[in-house]
C-alpha cells in the first residue's frame, strides 16, 4: 500500500490545485443563489418579450431556408444580425419570431419581423451576481431539448462535468491519504460521522 502513497498524494495535490479556482466560483455562487442577495428569480417572460417595449437597434436579415427546425432557423437569423449567445426559446408564427438570447452579463430580446426581414433588438446588461448565477446554473435541467445550442454553453457544461468528476476523484484520493495519517484516524472518523449525521438527519427530516 505504501508504494501508492506518493502517487495518490501527487494526484490529490495537483488535481486539487487545478480545480480550486472553479470550486471557489461555484461555492461563492452557491452562497449567492442560497440567499436573496439579488432578485435573481426574474420573470423570464417579461425579458423574453422586452423588445416590444424598448428597441435599441435594428438589423436586416434574409429569410433562412424553411427546411430548418426552430433553433437552427433562429441561429441563422442570429448569425446574420451578428448576435451570439444561448437561445432561451423560440416563439412566434409565420409573421414574426421572438428569440430571447442569454449569456453571462447580457440578455437580448429579439423580435424578427419575417415579412419586412428586420430584426428589432433590445439588449440588457446584467450585474455581477446574475453573471455568477448564469455560470452556476448553465446548462442545467430546464429546456432540455434546446439547452446547449451555443458552443460556449456546451463547452462550459462539459467543463463543469469535468471539474465535478475531478472533485469526486480528489475526494476519493483524500480518503486514501487520510488512511496514511495514522494520528488523524480517530478525529477523522468523528468528522466523517458528524458530516454523515448532519446530511442524513436533514435529508430524512426534509423528505418525511
Amino acid at each position: 500500500m505504501k508504494k501508492y502513497y506518493q502517487v495518490v498524494k501527487d494526484l490529490h495535490f495537483y488535481i486539487g490545485l487545478f480545480i480550486s479556482p472553479i470550486i471557489i466560483i461555484f461555492a461563492f455562487s452557491a452562497l449567492v443563489l442560497n440567499h436573496d442577495f439579488t432578485d435573481w428569480q426574474d420573470d423570464w417572460q417579461e425579458w423574453f418579450f422586452s423588445v416590444n417595449d424598448n428597441v435599441d437597434k435594428t438589423a436586416g436579415f434574409t429569410i433562412p431556408a424553411p427546411d430548418k427546425n426552430d433553433i437552427d432557423y433562429a441561429k441563422d437569423i442570429l448569425n446574420q444580425i451578428n448576435i451570439s449567445g444561448e437561445i432561451a426559446g423560440v416563439f412566434g408564427d409565420s409573421i414574426q419570431m421572438y428569440i430571447p438570447v442569454t449569456k453571462p452579463g447580457y440578455r437580448i430580446s429579439i423580435r424578427a419581423d419575417l415579412i419586412a426581414e428586420i430584426a428589432y433588438i433590445h439588449e440588457t446588461k446584467t450585474n455581477f451576481w446574475k453573471r455568477l448565477i448564469w455560470l452556476h446554473k448553465m446548462p442545467g435541467p430546464h429546456n432540455a431539448n434546446i439547452r446547449g445550442n451555443w458552443i460556449y454553453t456546451k463547452i462550459w457544461g462539459s467543463l463543469a462535468d469535468f471539474f465535478v468528476i475531478l472533485l469526486l476523484l480528489s475526494s476519493i484520493t483524500g480518503i486514501i491519504l487520510w488512511y496514511y495519517f495514522k494520528n488523524e484516524i480517530a478525529i477523522g472518523i468523528i468528522a466523517l460521522l458528524i458530516g454523515f449525521i448532519s446530511i442524513a438527519s436533514l435529508v430524512i427530516g426534509l423528505t418525511v
Partner: protein
Amino acid sequence: MTKQKEGLLKWNLKIHIYIGLYLLFFIWLFGFSGLLLNHHWEFANFWEERKEISFEKAITISREREQYILVHEIMDKIDLNGSIGNLKFSNDSIFFNFIISKPGTRYDIQANLNDGNILIKEMKFNKWGIMRALHVMRNPTPKEQGDRYQSALASLWSISMDIVSVSLILLCFGGWYLWIKAPRKRFYLGLISIAGGLILCIFLLRGLS
C-alpha cells in the same frame, strides 16, 4: 522553518483533513446531483416515474387576500408542509393556485376561494428526484417561512449549504497554503496546475461574455 510556521503548517493540514472529511458526503451529493442536473440520463428519470394522486379537502377560508398570508392559512388548514412557489390568482380571483414542494414530494394546490374547496394533486418522486430537489433547494424568504417544521428544516439545510460553500473555499485556501509551503519542485508543478485551472476559467469566462 521556524517552530511557529511548522505548527501553522501542521494545523493547516489537520484542518484540511477534518473539513474535507466533514464535507465528504455533501461533496458527493452535490457533485453527483450537479451531474444529474446537467444531463438527462435515462436511468435517472424522475418525472416520468412519478406517482400521482388527486384528492380534495373542504376548509373555511378567511377573507384575507394577501397571497402569502393566504398560502400559510391554507397550508395550516390542510396540514401540508414544504416550500412554497408559483403563487397565482386566477383572472376572476376565484381560484388561487400554488405549489408546495419538499424533496421527493410536490403538491399542486388549487383553492376555490369562494367555497373553500381545495383540489390537491400530490406527486411523489423517486430518489433521483429527491437528489435534484436537494441540490436546488434554497433559503426560504421571510414571507415564505411559516411556523411549520419544514420551514425550520429548509432554513437549516440552507445554513448547511452556506457552511459547505464557505468550507469548500477554506479547503481551497488551505490547499493553497500547503502548496506555497511545498518544496520547490512541487511548488512549481503546483503553480502549473493552478495556473492551468485559472487560465481555463478566464479563457472561458471571456469567451462566454
